[in-house]
Symmetry: D2
Subunit: 390 residues, 4 copies
């Protein structure tokens, strides 16, 4: 169980780009990073408005000199300090992820970035190459992947409980944008503007979450080809989609389906992953994340509860509060930040192999998400045709 | 409310082909048909073994002379009697539906048939032409379509509660055949043999059920094109599929997805229909059929319960037992049989228009199901390509 | 599985008192009794208005001469006929159950009666004595007790799966009478009038249902003492209660709690039984009757589904439709009527012991229900004190 | 929404008694107190073993000189320092709550204490008197009371949505101690030893949680009399109970029922509160804490989701992450700690009235919990009789 004992030797000096006053996601990042003392906030370029950003940083207790007007200034100054930040979290609109991540890596700073990492696979591979060359970690904010019950699902696949995997069903389909709310909401507006959001809306913004969860649960599956259709039910969003369906065929014959939507009217997030094998299925739903449904053919369906001793030891290691009490998304994020920190420490100490057992969304996951969206868009824009996955 | 008062002047003299000793579906048909006195069992060709069939009929209280060795004999004799059966139910393997239905219609007998009605659209259209010409009813056994909450869903669409329909999600995906159970189970064996089952397994056997429910709920949707992929996860079933996914595009821009499976390991029937419009969604699940989930964007999700006064009057008309008490599939089937009987009486009295308001799966639904499967198979066999729907 | 094959040699000639035009419960009784041919309706005194009653019977296909103006006339005439009815179902207001049942028994006719059987234990014991002396069956309409999953719960207790029974939690608490609906609804009015309803409202009308279910599931529990508090939240109902709670202590140390209400605003029926033993618990809820929740301490909770092969053979014997398809209250009632018929036949043939294995609510259950209500009322009227159970 | 902006001017200097290495509850307290910077850990007496306690504190980053061997030393030293702690959290076995809290208050230090506050009402009133006299805050760790959906339930009662309150149903009934696990588990052993646990086990340890939730939701209800029965199903626990039921009558005619258990085999926590009024009911369950079920009689049941705009503004003010994402117990605790801190600041600034609007479990809740347990034990030990509540 997690009891606040840090698994790294020291707290990692840490900064943020974006995530300032009024940014809920900025709060989520800080709350997760600092939960158990893994990250120590020392610097920030929190806001496009330097004054506002500085004031915000000071309120957080930062040295005013380390509240920077922009990320360039921050990376330059911090990389020159002996006590400069070792890691930065990037919580800015999508179009800036690539240049900021690139600049951080070139300044020798580890990165935790919101997804999508970039707009194109080429860009993502560029970042991957730089990170590898410099021995730096890039973590991607697929928050739910740190949830204990996702780990448990992965263990059930790994130990053969489900048999040979045949079908993966993924969904992230909410209804919050059934109407053109972006007309009144600046926070939504950039998500449907290709200049800021990139080549897709819900495929990049939502679908990559359950896609990554499925990859965590079924690490052996390799997409062979996929087909995507996408729609803009609110017409003004075109060419960006607010609804899409993706069919996937994996090497070895398994198949996958993913539905993502922002116009699934009346639904909350509707993020679900179901993995079906020759013997049984496992299903997880983010709205009741503490329960995992395990169905073995011919047996009564089971509801596995977080924190219970019958779970795999590796899953239980992520428990903070004991069975019966509910955990939420914050705990999943905090779990990821523990792993990010351990990975960073391993890299800093020149022993990245030590981090190999850690299950976290790294640069590989970031590249994969971008590549997948790219294939989906290509398929959809060609009329919904099969495209080979490469 | 239904209180056993028959809405037709008389009970319809009725016979069966198949459905003898050991046939559970035969029992379901009789139980539904005779529930409220709409049908009066007078004759049968219950079994391939004439003696067994006769004994079974006698046990049911039939005149031994009206327990026939085969359907040909039954139709010939009964159509010659002044008190001969007016309707026959066909509960035999798929490959016999077409010839038996055709023979019945040519003998001037109304038909209630298990789906699929035929193997090809041409055959189905042939039956439709004969039925029209002779003024006969052909009812198809899409049992759940008689459920009160399906009617309620249809009313919610019709009255605009959901707004403009955008997305239809359909599913009938069980796990009972995750292993090759047909090796030991004759009852399953014919379902995976093209000679008896026709060109498909789960597409024809399962998928047409939620497809028809969606048509009942959204009668205005017209498929423009569809794409299907199908798999035989138990390899010996090929070319028949035990899993399939179908994407549909409707005129006007709405889209549909359907997942059907017999290898969704651990799942019970998993029959669900979700219809999403610009304002909200409605979702029905056959395993908890008395509740309908209504989600209006921006409002709390609602659980509508069968029999409650807040339902539409037309839905409540189908209630038998009052809110709070659960009804099941038998009641849905019985509701259909009431409508079949009313439609038959209207046709017998030369006034088929009188039956126009009755919502039941008739020959049109039968044709549509066959046509849909045909298109799916064509798409799948071409590698999962889009095919125009005609 | 039940496939319509009758387990008795013949159908039992049968009549009804009450249950005429507009009576939903009358329909439920007929629907269940005739479902599988166990009972053959031959006579009735359906209505206080003889003409209306006769017309109703004729519509049901009865001989007009056997549509009687009152039960006295019916019992006299039918007991004199060689083909007279052998069993009568009594579906009238509570205050008439005792005299009508008594008259039927004295006329040598088996009885199926709505609960409560009588207003006092003395009356119930009187009926029991007569029934025993004459070798007649009295069945009581605790409909849900025929449900397959109640049988399964009983088997799980019997085979020790739950360990030693410690706690029984019972509930039947709906909200339909949160407001004084009886002011406008004659169908409700008699239920809150002691002259017609007897000494209690919800204790007799609702609570005895889950009480009996618990007795079926835990046949070895004997109440040692109980305590009841009752309230009339709609004041005009006093002295009859619309809400009550009962604490029970059983021989051997187990305890029980029962909550019954007609003012549990917003709830549907809310009929639930949970039985907890030293190893685990089982819980059943009438609104999702096809699932039974089995919780073994230290294991994941299991959802058992109706019709599945992992259930006990005795439970599966009551299945009509196969797993995955939902059954409802009608099937539970029909199951009971099969057992009523088998018990009657055994008695008629002079071998009542043959019926000993049949689990159905007989005269003993009827007596017990009345006795229990009597104790509850005595406790409540004394201020909510413990009363020894005798 | 909560975004990490502290609502107090400064962080409160804070210490802990207990909660050292291996204490999960200690972690929960720290995690909640420091979540948003309201409390700043400066001192601790973490362990009965001084060396272990000191090492633990140092690991947490404390000054070794402020890691004390016991609470007496800590309170003496800290109250003498100008930068001494202003608040202490007490996370020790029950029997120590009274002396430690008393010592803290006498040293002028605010207290956050685990429940039960004391063993007797007299002791609790003593603490209340001291706290009042010195102008100090005593917060009690009823963690779930900080949950957004509990606030929402309170608002629904306050605004009359449910009508006049009639029935309160409370439950905290888990199954983790169905077997005598204390034989092997020191962490459980003291809970069933009166010397450490006080006069009750589950009444004090579990039942006061939903009791307090009900008080938060229905602040106007006053208990008039109550009746309790308690059992020791694991006999070696006697006289402490592992199961109890409490009936309550409130001024004005409403009634309450509470079931608490540690032998509800197979159940997780089973903490639920249902409040029923003349118009509707609201129900909350800690295992799915993000959903609140609202049932208005005559309308479809509604599932309210955390974070949705249709909630009351006061509820939404506690949101940290937006609708659709799950929050858990940690967020509820953190919400309470924000209110504790605000209350402490108001008291420190000599304006306790400023804290009057804050909904948090203070000394009054602590007293009430102890008083309630005392009455329950008195009733149970007299054989389960009604006792007036005073």
């Amino acid at each position: 169980m997690i009891d606040g004992t840090r698994l790294t030797k020291t707290a990692i000096r840490w900064g943020m780009v974006g995530g300032g006053r009024g940014s809920q996601i900025g709060y989520v990042h800080r709350s997760a990073a600092m939960r158990d003392g893994y990250f120590d906030l020392r610097a920030g370029a929190f806001d496009l408005d330097p004054e506002r950003g500085r004031a915000f940083g000071v309120d957080l207790g930062l040295d005013p000199d380390r509240c920077y007007p922009d990320y360039q200034a921050m990376f330059a100054a911090e990389s020159a300090r002996p006590d400069g930040i070792r890691c930065v979290t990037i919580a800015t609109p999508n179009n800036t992820h690539y240049p900021i991540t690139r600049a951080a890596l070139l300044a020798g700073i580890h990165v935790i970035c919101e997804k999508p990492l970039t707009f194109t696979t080429a860009e993502a591979l560029d970042l991957q190459a730089i990170a590898r060359e410099r021995g730096l970690v890039v973590g991607v904010a697929y928050g739910y992947s740190g949830h204990q019950m996702i780990e448990e699902a992965a263990r059930l696949v790994a130990d053969g409980t489900l048999g040979e995997i045949r079908i993966v069903t993924m969904q992230f389909a909410h209804g919050f944008h059934s109407a053109p709310v972006e007309l009144d909401s600046p926070a939504t507006r950039w998500r449907v503007d290709p200049a800021f959001a990139g080549p897709s809306y819900v495929l990049g913004d939502l679908a990559t979450h359950p896609l990554y969860l499925a990859q965590v649960i079924c690490p052996d599956l390799r997409i062979r080809r996929l087909l995507c259709t996408r729609q803009s039910f609110v017409a003004s969003r075109a060419p960006l989609e607010d609804n899409a369906t993706v069919l996937m065929e994996y090497d070895g014959g398994a198949v996958g389906t993913l539905w993502t939507s922002a116009v699934n009217a009346g639904s909350m997030h509707g993020q679900k992953v179901r993995v079906t094998g020759s013997k049984g299925s496992v299903e997880w739903w983010d709205e009741h994340p503490n329960q995992l449904r395990l169905e073995i053919q011919g047996e009564a369906a089971r509801l596995l509860d977080r924190g219970m001793p019958y779970l795999h030891a590796q899953s239980l290691g992520d428990d903070r509060i004991g069975a019966g009490h509910p955990e939420g998304l914050f705990e999943a994020w905090a779990n990821l930040h523990s792993r990010f920190a351990q990975a960073i420490e391993a890299h800093e100490e020149g022993d990245p192999a030590r981090a190999a057992h850690l299950r976290y969304p790294g640069i590989g996951a970031g590249v994969e998400g971008v590549r997948w969206v790219e294939h989906c868009v290509r398929s959809a824009d060609a009329g919904g045709v099969w495209v080979d996955y490469a």
